[in-house]
């Protein structure tokens, strides 16, 4: 049984941030005053705010009729786990925690709805990553045809997964606008964002890695406990983590037990990486711990276990078809760029002087481009006006990724049109019957491919028109430098604008309809697996625990790159968020369920001086699952950077005997770890 989430929760409040009442007023001030006068009379019940407490027998229940806080449970094994753990050279144990994080797009959520008095039409502007998904839900909720509900996601100020769920406010505001026949607007305050907008991560892992004396991995056993918060919005995240637990390595045996547990906290859902950073954090920490127990350099340990280069899909023991990869190349590249051996030498010298320097490496793989299954296609229209101006409509819903630029580039390439003549439109359900949206590093691999295919279709028709105009065979027409030539014949050429004019006017082939546009829905045959290797160098002040992130190097492989500037931007932003998980950010609750990090002075989003200069590099391993060969870059750097930095922190403290620090590695935690080691 999956408990559904009531829109307004007058009976039982399950987390600080549950909605209990809605006030609609003429002005913001009136609404605030009226909301202040709503008296919520609550009896206090005991709360469970962490998974360990929530799964104890007799724990207070988040959903009483459900009878337990454990919402989902599964055990899966692959390979001979018993044999792998039967007298291996060594078994490394660890309890690893992925703390709860908040998305904090700098633009909060907001919804504006307007119902027309004259037509049965409802227009909803929402700061969302999934306008079509919101439209579908609204239409179903209000029993309206989808064509009468228009959802517009205008320029959205960041999402990171926090705007990937349908929220009660979207339904309530739309409902009120229809009922009142007045526009109704709601904009989230920052404290509401911290409380009520979905959080991310929140997983606890008890892991065991069995290894041979030479470092080869024999098997991995994981007990994964996922915090769901109060409602099951992210119930798929634990299983998603499971799918990627092998990371970049050959793992011959795997057992994963999952429990997803309700707590009296904000629901957990997607946050940049969503389930995949948790997996890579686990395997990358375990690999470092195992190397240390074997007295082996962590890089050497990785070299012995990485999957070798592959250009066509390989299947992991957990059944994932990795599309293509060259993990050793990415690792060697980052080591070379960092002068790894030199770094280790300098580390030895520094340690001899009592300084605490740490070097952390992480090899990561990501799973992206959802999806080959279900309804996760992406749509695109390429439409040419009679004057040759091109409109591209995309089902992706960018909020800073730069699809306007990248999709225009893809179309310009196929049609020989100046990008200034291409307009990319997105985030408006009136323009496309269906679309999926932007999340999970899927936009280029799925949405970009749909745009590419539509542009190809237009090119095909334009080629026939050009051939007709130039009295040549379509196969002999080539597009170059903005004009359409007959191959090998100088001077016989037409421009795209001439072709567009003919497409709608005189001079078409007799059997051809007017018009020049194409619609495509692309559903990929498989997922894409971006990958890379990151390296961090930290120094810790032995007197205070204060940490400096001295250097950060990344090598990321997202297949073919459409636009290097945009790809770099995604890496930079991803690094900032992954490093923030390692060092700064954590959502915390008090024992009674009160949120302790309800604003930006308690929840530490990194500021300009907090981050180092990043040094980026890439390898290029095209994906075989889409014609562009692209993979996805939105989440990669987030996934690689958290373990790289935490590995560096633990490495810095290794001489003191410190084995584990849970992120965020704050100066206070580092200080306490140093104290504990000194008193040992």
């Amino acid at each position: 049984m999956i408990p559904s989430r009531p829109l307004l929760n007058a009976d039982r409040v399950r987390f600080a941030g549950d909605l209990v009442a809605m006030v609609v007023a003429e002005t913001r001030e009136q609404a605030r005053d009226a909301a202040d006068r709503v008296v919520v009379d609550l009896d206090q019940h005991p709360a469970v705010t962490n998974v360990d407490a929530a799964r104890q027998p007799g724990a207070a229940l988040v959903h009483e009729d459900f009878g337990t806080n454990v919402a989902y449970q599964s055990t899966r094994t692959w390979g001979d786990v018993a044999a792998a753990f039967d007298r291996p050279h060594r078994v490394v144990h660890a309890r690893l925690r992925n703390q709860r994080l908040a998305g904090v797009p700098i633009e909060p959520r907001g919804v504006l709805a307007e119902a027309s008095r004259w037509e049965p039409v409802l227009t909803v502007w929402s700061s969302t990553q999934i306008p079509h998904g919101v439209r579908d839900e609204l239409a179903a909720f209000l029993s309206m045809p989808q064509t009468d509900v228009r959802v517009i996601a205008p320029e959205v100020g960041g999402g990171f997964g926090a705007k990937l769920s349908l929220y009660p406010e979207e339904l309530l505001v739309a409902w009120a606008a229809r009922r009142l026949l007045r526009p109704v607007k709601w904009v989230e305050e920052r404290s509401e964002h911290m409380q009520a907008t979905t959080h991310g991560r929140g997983q606890l892992h008890d892991a065991e890695l069995a290894v041979e004396a030479d470092g080869r991995i024999r098997g991995l056993r994981v007990r994964l406990t996922a915090d769901l918060g109060a409602y099951p919005m992210g119930v798929g995240l634990g299983p998603l983590t499971r799918r990627l637990l092998c990371g970049c390595y050959r793992v011959p045996a795997l057992q994963v037990d999952i429990e997803s547990v309700y707590t009296n906290t904000t629901p957990i859902a997607a946050y940049r990486g969503a389930g995949r950073p948790e997996a890579i954090f686990l395997i990358e920490r375990m690999v470092d711990l195992a190397a240390r127990e074997l007295g082996m350099d962590p890089v050497e340990f990785r070299r012995r276990n990485l999957l070798p280069r592959f250009e066509t899909p390989v299947t992991t023991i957990a059944g994932e078809n990795y599309d293509s990869g060259d993990y050793p190349a990415a690792l060697e590249r980052v080591l070379e760029n960092a002068d790894y051996r030199g770094l280790r030498r300098r580390q030895d010298e520094a340690r001899a002087q009592g300084r605490l320097i740490g070097i952390g490496v992480a090899s990561y793989v990501e799973m992206a481009g959802f999806g080959p299954s279900g309804d996760l296609f992406e749509s695109a229209v390429v439409r040419v006006n009679p004057d040759g101006a091109v409109t591209v409509v995309t089902g992706t819903s960018p909020h800073g990724q730069g699809h306007e630029t990248a999709w225009a580039q893809l179309v310009a390439l196929e049609l020989g049109v100046n990008p200034d003549w291409i307009t990319v439109r997105h985030g408006d359900t009136a323009l496309l019957a269906a679309g999926t949206g932007t999340f999970g590093s899927r936009s280029a691999a799925v949405g970009g491919t749909a745009v590419h295919l539509a542009a190809r279709d237009v090119q095909e028709k334009a080629r026939r028109i050009a051939a007709h105009m130039l009295e040549a065979a379509p196969a002999d027409i080539v597009v170059r430098d903005g004009s359409w030539h007959v191959r090998g014949v100088q001077g016989r050429a037409v421009g795209f604008r001439d072709i567009a004019q003919v497409a709608y006017g005189e001079g078409r082939p007799a059997d051809m309809e007017a018009g020049l546009e194409a619609t495509r829905y692309f559903q990929p045959p498989g997922l894409v697996f971006p990958f890379g290797a990151h390296l961090a160098v930290v120094e810790i002040d032995p007197d205070t625990g204060a940490l400096t992130l001295e250097r950060y190097l990344s090598v990321d492989d997202c297949g073919r790159v459409i636009n290097p500037l945009l790809a770099e931007g995604q890496v930079h932003g991803g690094l900032a968020q992954g490093i923030a998980q390692a060092l700064y950010e954590e959502v915390a609750y008090g024992p009674d369920g009160e949120l302790l990090t309800g604003n930006l002075t308690t929840y530490l989003v990194p500021t300009a001086p907090d981050l180092p200069s990043f040094s980026l590099d890439r390898t290029v391993t095209p994906s075989p699952v889409n014609p562009l060969g692209v993979k996805g870059i939105g989440e990669s750097a987030t996934i690689g950077s958290t373990p790289a930095v935490v590995n560096a922190v633990v490495d810095a403290l290794a001489p003191l005997g410190v084995r584990e620090i849970d992120p965020p590695c704050t100066p206070e935690k580092i200080w306490n770890a140093m104290l504990a080691s000194r008193s040992r």
Partner: protein, 167 residues
């Protein structure tokens, strides 16, 4: 509807004089956005924690979410709408666009204005000076690096002196 006493407020924004009738408790952020229609200035917290609402008051960065218009009637207020010279983008705007220093763009107005204030007083700032000057303005998208580079590019283009080693 309760009667709210509105008062006349005189503001000088981007060199233009405005007179508006507003309730005295409205913040400068609200008046800019709602009464003057200057929606380039953003709200991110309205608590002084994020600087999305940053404008310049007499050339200095100022949080409009904490400012009361009645206090600023003698001041010169600049918002992002006043940055370009007609159709000609400000050098900072041009550099931000060229280098990809804006992703979602929500922090960009405040970043641009804060950077402008820095360059007005320190035409060739060091990287460290840029980091410190922008310290309060949050950006969740870019990791800040391209923003620093864009400020440096704009500075380099508008000045002939080399960047300061330390300022």
């Amino acid at each position: 509807m309760p009667v709210t006493d509105k008062v006349p407020v005189h503001l000088l924004v981007n060199g233009e004089a405005y007179e508006v009738m507003v309730p005295p408790y409205k913040t400068l952020l609200e008046v800019l956005r709602e009464d003057l229609g200057l929606t380039g200035t953003k709200h991110g917290c309205e608590l002084g924690e994020c600087s999305m609402c940053g404008v310049l008051v007499d050339g200095k960065p100022y949080l409009s979410c904490l400012a009361m218009p009645l206090d600023l009637q003698q001041a010169e207020i600049s918002t992002v709408e006043g940055l370009a010279n007609g159709n000609e983008p400000h050098p900072l705007q041009r550099a931000f666009a060229e280098l990809g220093a804006a992703q979602c763009g929500y922090c960009t107005p405040a970043m641009l204005l804060t950077a402008k204030s820095l360059l007005d007083s320190n035409p060739r700032p060091s990287r460290e000076a840029i980091r410190q000057a922008l310290a309060g303005v949050l950006c969740r998208c870019t990791g800040y690096l391209k923003i620093f580079e864009a400020v440096e590019l704009a500075a380099a283009r508008s000045s002939t002196s080399p960047p300061a080693a330390h300022v």
